[in-house]
């Protein structure tokens, strides 16, 4: 196995990076792939909570990087899926405890044993972000259909292009079709128009996501959750399947234009 390393980032806080990381991780594991999720938000960890693994943490990322424990000892096994693991962030340290080189070394050590390494980036464009994107083969940029989030996503795309990691793929989270129809929210095509990168998925706003996060049981595990379904589709697309963009296709009238914009490989 040679893992692909995907970093989930956004620039703006609160758009759903951690939720996306947990859900894509769960969904990839459900496809039978071996996955490790790394919480890159040192000092403000919460991926463990969303994945429901808070009480299993013994060692964390910084313990491994500072050589106190072996990598295996910091791999926390998921309680539901056999092939899903978490490396938690240290709660008591800050971003300067880790360097981009540390992250590259750590992920290189993980590569042989996994199919996917997902890194949950902290918000912002500083050290934590740099750490998270340094080892990435692929960068997923999470945004919400609002002007400020799109602006920050654009900045992030510029930064990762400068590091020759770009352009990345776009995940639009908290999408509300009714609001778009009323003209109160940016439509997918408006966002793609500005960002001009490939779309990996559109996740609808869905109460089940919040409930699931609080319970530590990601929505991707819930067959009835619309958002969960969207995350499962994203995982399938990451795995190389050609999955149509379902939510958008249901909307009459808009579909013609959207399908043109999201043609694979475009942008």
């Amino acid at each position: 196995m040679t893992a692909k390393i995907a970093t989930i980032t956004s620039g703006k806080g609160g758009v759903g990076k951690t939720t996306a990381t947990a859900n894509i991780g769960v969904a990839l594991a459900a496809l039978g792939l071996k996955v490790v999720c790394i919480d890159g938000d040192i000092g403000l960890r919460n991926l463990d909570v969303v994945m429901g693994l808070e009480n299993r943490i013994v060692y964390d990322l910084v313990d491994v990087i500072e050589g106190r424990v072996r990598l295996r000892q910091a791999l926390i096994k998921d309680k539901r899926q056999d092939d899903l693991y978490l490396i938690a962030a240290a709660q008591t340290r800050d971003k300067t405890a880790v360097s981009p080189q540390d992250m590259i070394r750590l992920t290189d050590d993980l590569r042989p044993d996994f199919d996917w390494v997902l890194i949950d980036s902290p918000a912002g464009i500083e050290r934590g972000f740099r750490n998270a994107v340094a080892p990435a083969d692929l960068i997923l940029i999470v945004t919400n259909p609002e002007v400020s989030a799109v602006r920050d996503a654009d900045r992030i795309i510029g930064l990762i292009e400068a590091e020759e990691k770009g352009p990345g793929k776009l995940l639009i989270n908290r999408f509300k079709p009714e609001m778009v129809r009323r003209g109160d929210m940016l439509a997918t095509e408006d966002i793609l128009d500005v960002l001009a990168i490939e779309l990996i998925g559109v996740v609808p706003e869905d109460e089940t996501v919040l409930v699931a996060s609080n319970r530590g049981s990601p929505a991707a595990l819930d067959d009835r959750s619309k958002a969960g379904k969207a995350f499962r589709n994203i995982a399938r697309r990451l795995n190389g399947e050609d999955v149509p963009f379902e939510i958008l296709e249901k909307r009459d009238g808009v579909f013609g234009r959207i399908s043109r914009l999201v043609r694979p490989g475009e942008g």
């Binding site: 920050d152 654009d154 900045r155 795309i157 292009e161």
Partner: protein, 224 residues
């Protein structure tokens, strides 16, 4: 200390005019600059304007050697000194730049004025581009990006960021874009924001007319 030389791009490569009085110091400063900016000079064709300085074969020969070590080709030496011209000719160098052909001379008359910079990509949020001359973008200028130009700004794409043309006070500067919807547009000391757009975007040019910033459609009849 001021740099004892000036570098200019010409049709045949680079023209370096040496202005320093002391030959050794000037030569050292030039070589130092080339070492500092290796990528820029690497493989360059250089013509040297040395003014009235008398240069012998050993001085010029050493310089040719030092330049060739840095993969810079000296092909011409321009001078008012007969001694230097003779030395250069003996070393197989040209002593004048080739005269521009008639066709090129005609075109060059259109190109007087400030330098321009061409950017062939999209400027994303957070990018700030400052240039004393004109700015040409092939790509979009996204919201959150900023262009400040001493001259004109041309965008072959959508202009949605902040743009300032004629930033040094030139009221004749213009801003053109295929879709002119800047967050804020400034020319000289005038500031405007984009009105709400109705209908499809079309190419427009913004300029100052009678002290007022106006955007005019490029396809209007009067322009044709």
């Amino acid at each position: 200390m001021d740099t004892p030389f000036a570098i200019k791009g010409i049709r045949d490569g680079l023209l370096i005019t040496l202005t320093g009085d002391e030959w050794d110091a000037t030569q050292a400063a030039l070589l130092h600059a080339i070492d500092d900016r290796g990528d820029f000079f690497h493989g360059a064709r250089v013509a040297l304007q040395v003014g009235e300085r008398d240069l012998g074969a050993s001085e010029l020969g050493r310089l040719i050697h030092a330049l060739s070590e840095r993969e810079v080709l000296l092909w011409a030496v321009l001078s008012e000194s007969d001694v230097t011209r003779e030395t250069a000719a003996n070393l197989g160098l040209a002593v004048q730049l080739s005269p521009p052909s008639v066709e090129e001379a005609a075109r060059d008359t259109e190109l007087t004025g400030d330098d321009a910079v061409l950017v062939y990509r999209t400027l994303r949020s957070g990018h700030s581009l400052h240039h004393p001359g004109h700015v040409v973008i092939i790509g979009d200028v996204n919201p959150g990006a900023e262009i400040v130009a001493g001259g004109n700004v041309l965008v072959w794409g959508r202009l949605r960021g902040v743009v300032h043309a004629g930033a040094a006070g030139d009221e004749n500067a213009v801003v053109c874009a295929l879709d002119l919807s800047p967050t804020q547009l400034r020319i000289a000391d005038q500031i405007a924001t984009s009105p709400e757009r109705h209908g499809d975007p079309k190419p427009e040019m913004a300029r100052i007319r009678q002290g007022q910033l106006v955007a005019e459609s490029w396809t209007d009849d009067r322009r044709r």
